[in-house]
Symmetry: C2
Subunit: 206 residues, 2 copies
DNA sequence: GTTGCGATGTATCGCACCGATACATCGTTC
DNA sequence: GAACGATGTATCGGTGCGATACATCGCAAC
């Protein structure tokens, strides 16, 4: 799941790990607190091993290779998505399985909807809705035959959960209606979304 | 975290794994879909190793030890909490750290509030509120200086997350007010919560 | 002036938990 | 009689997290 998010961000611009984490935190702030380095770096390693991303030369140029003997001088490592990585990103984007309907998978997919085709968007939104409805029904069941002798606090928790489910279903309904009406939010102000086609082709080094 | 939940349920009654999972699913249904066996059994193993729980004899009595040669005849294994386990449960219940303010820790603690002392309840509720408020502020920041050039879908996600935060803070406020007024939900109908002090002292075997 | 602190930055380790899978029994339905 | 779904125990690989370590830089306090 993290792979999708990282490829998505690196698709927009090359970055080093620290920056990546910050961007992930704001982009996915609604669905998870903060990405741990214990997840980030191993995932970067994995992506690198798969050939989806590569290391770029550091801003200081050759400096990094020059001073390995003492203190090892670890410079910032800038990661860049490869052509295969872009393909992989598209593949992951279009992939809809059960994990696209659960958190955090749903949230991550949703965060990249601007680069997802309309059919996939709809499939994911409907899949998610179904899931949340099931969850909602489960909670309703427990609450109705509350003979389940659950204490008041536990019941309160279920009530709050049920409320959240109902709210999310309504939210999803709205989004689905928007999608169907062919009026998705897409670009509202002035946001050329992924490609940044104009200007510099290569990232300026500092 | 699972340890707390399992000890809590076994505190109420001895059970085998399958039943435990079902009960966990309904008790914690509001905060997580279903507990995986890949979590449950290792945790039971861990609890057993720590001496917090023990295996009870299976209903069929000696049958289990008799027929190991062929087909190994795996019977149901009933787990029972020990005296040390009850102590451990109290200890975990009273323990308030950062993980008691995050999901899923918060939800699990909350689910056992009926057996938590009032001071701890209040501390957890306030800690949680603080956390959610921080999260809310973070989302507000991102949304206000939306110059963060996030696309419309990502913004919609943040908006939904912000809404959920605001709602939860209000919910927590209410709960905290209730706690302070000394009128916690506790036992509303007729639910003698943990001890089941009357009737059978030893669990009747089927 | 140095000292100490917070931000930037890379990285690993152990652990908790999940999803998939395997295997076995039992009762009911066709 | 066999096919299926519920009950039941258990493991395996993988993902992600929290804690921790280490290093640099700029700036504010003393």
């Amino acid at each position: 799941m993290l792979e999708l998010a990282i490829l998505g961000l690196l698709h927009e611009a090359s970055m080093h790990g620290y920056e990546l984490r910050k961007q992930l935190t704001t982009k996915l702030g609604a669905i998870r607190a903060a990405i741990s380095y214990g997840s980030l770096y191993p995932t970067l390693r994995r992506l690198q091993a798969g050939g989806w991303i590569t290391e770029e030369a550091t801003p200081q140029g050759a400096a990094r290779a020059e001073i390995p003997p003492l203190t090892s001088r670890r410079g910032r490592v800038v990661y860049k998505i490869t052509a295969e990585g872009k393909e992989r990103f598209q593949e992951l984007l279009a992939q809809t399985g059960p994990e696209s309907y659960e958190e955090p998978g749903f949230g991550i997919h949703f965060a990249f909807f601007a680069r997802t085709d309309a059919a996939t968007r709809l499939r994911i939104l409907e899949g998610r809705r179904r899931r949340v409805e099931e969850r909602r029904e489960g909670l309703r069941d427990v609450l109705s035959r509350a003979a389940e002798r659950l204490d008041a606090y536990t019941l309160e928790l279920q009530r709050h959960g049920l409320d959240a489910c109902e709210r999310e279903v309504r939210w999803l309904e709205e989004l689905i209606a928007n999608e169907r009406s062919g009026r998705p939010p897409q670009i509202d102000q002035a946001n050329p979304p992924p490609g940044r086609s104009s200007q510099t082709e290569t990232e300026e080094p500092r």
